[in-house]
Subunit: 233 residues, 2 copies
């Protein structure tokens, strides 16, 4: 390790969270080792989490040498800026490309993921599909962005995985879980062929397989969460 | 200018927007000159805006050598990363402090500004005050963050204005407009004394005064916008 990159890393997470998965992916691609603390799925949050993220009380939190960093986009940028000499750079070197990567990361959160979460709370399959319309529209927009960012290469980051691959990569396990549970292809081969191929390409990388959760277990978890959400409607 | 910082800058804006004001403030503190294109308040959006920000169709857009950058947080980071040799650095040099600055910038947008906008759409003063409760809670949380970031110095950035000063600074004209219109003190001296003093300190800086809109004009604009929002309720 070089630069400011020495020291102890501890990740507070929850195994199924796409936001936590982003951080796990970033650490995996950077080749960094860390202690992992799993938050309880149900019941009260840990003292360590409440102390480390008093503003939002949410995972992921990365604790580096005792200092907590919160929110997946900010954590992944922090990892990349601190561990400059370790593993590949995730953010592009060029400021304009970096701005584009940040723009599309925000787009994924605000447009794609937000509507997908809303859809998962739909009571019936019909309601879910109706609520997925903006999700599919966002995926089509992101399909064009993939062409722009990757410049014909296999990843958003070009020849190797970068920031946006990790940001979207946090959702990949859920793409597989949607397919397994509902036969639903979110990154559909006809509407978003580039992203459809990207999902398969990203999923089989060693660094991805090392952190991706078991899909059957994710499907079981999704059933429990959706039942709770429907009850709360 | 040094680094990648040469070239033509054009800002697409709307004079009253706090997001546009952030970019104007960043350019002002960096001492950068630029062409400014005002979008029409009402009626259709310009071809240049639609072409430059096809995803969101929103100002601000900064066009640098013909290439558009969108969203105020991303634009200000871009300016700081491209014009490294011009004016002060806005983002902190230390990665952890940079992560904190990004965290609080997101907090300002998601918690403070979002609830404030909702409050402005309240039909009565009572409804507005009720909806302002989360805004005041966010300001009290930010008060503690100011102490953490400034380390007893006058600005979030320390001795000089930094990223978070510019992010919160975009709201300062609206703080003055709320006071002028409703006698409402958002950054109240008893609940948030540090931020209350910060508003006054930030407002009188030459670089701020150079870009801050006229408060009376802002009050008139707020009346028109709120009437429209109430109609649309």
């Amino acid at each position: 390790m070089t630069g400011g990159g020495d020291g102890e890393l501890k990740l507070l997470g929850m195994w199924a969270s796409p936001f936590v998965l982003r951080v796990k992916l970033a650490l995996s691609f950077k080749g960094l080792s860390y202690a992992y603390v799993e938050e309880a799925l149900f019941g009260s949050k840990s003292e360590l989490l409440l102390k480390s993220n008093p503003v939002h009380n949410k995972v992921p939190v990365l604790i580096h040498n005792g200092k907590p960093v919160c929110e997946s986009q900010i954590i992944v940028q922090y990892i990349d800026e601190v561990y400059t000499g370790t593993g590949p750079s995730l953010l592009p070197a060029d400021p304009y490309e970096r701005a584009m990567a940040r723009f599309w990361a925000t787009f994924i959160d605000d447009k794609l993921l937000a509507s997908w979460v809303q859809a998962s709370r739909g009571k019936t399959m019909e309601e879910k599909m109706e609520r997925l319309k903006p999700t599919f529209a966002a995926i089509e927009t992101l399909e064009a962005a993939f062409g722009q960012c990757s410049k014909g290469k296999p990843f958003f980051g070009g020849d190797s995985v970068g920031y946006l691959d990790v940001m979207l990569g946090g959702l990949v396990a859920w793409v597989h879980a949607s397919r397994a549970r509902h036969g639903l292809e979110l990154f559909d081969a006809s509407r978003s062929p580039l992203l459809n191929a990207w999902v398969e390409r990203f999923s089989v990388l060693d660094e991805t397989r090392a952190v991706l959760p078991d899909i059957d277990r994710l499907v079981e978890y999704a059933k429990i969460r959706e039942a709770q959400a429907v009850d709360a409607n």
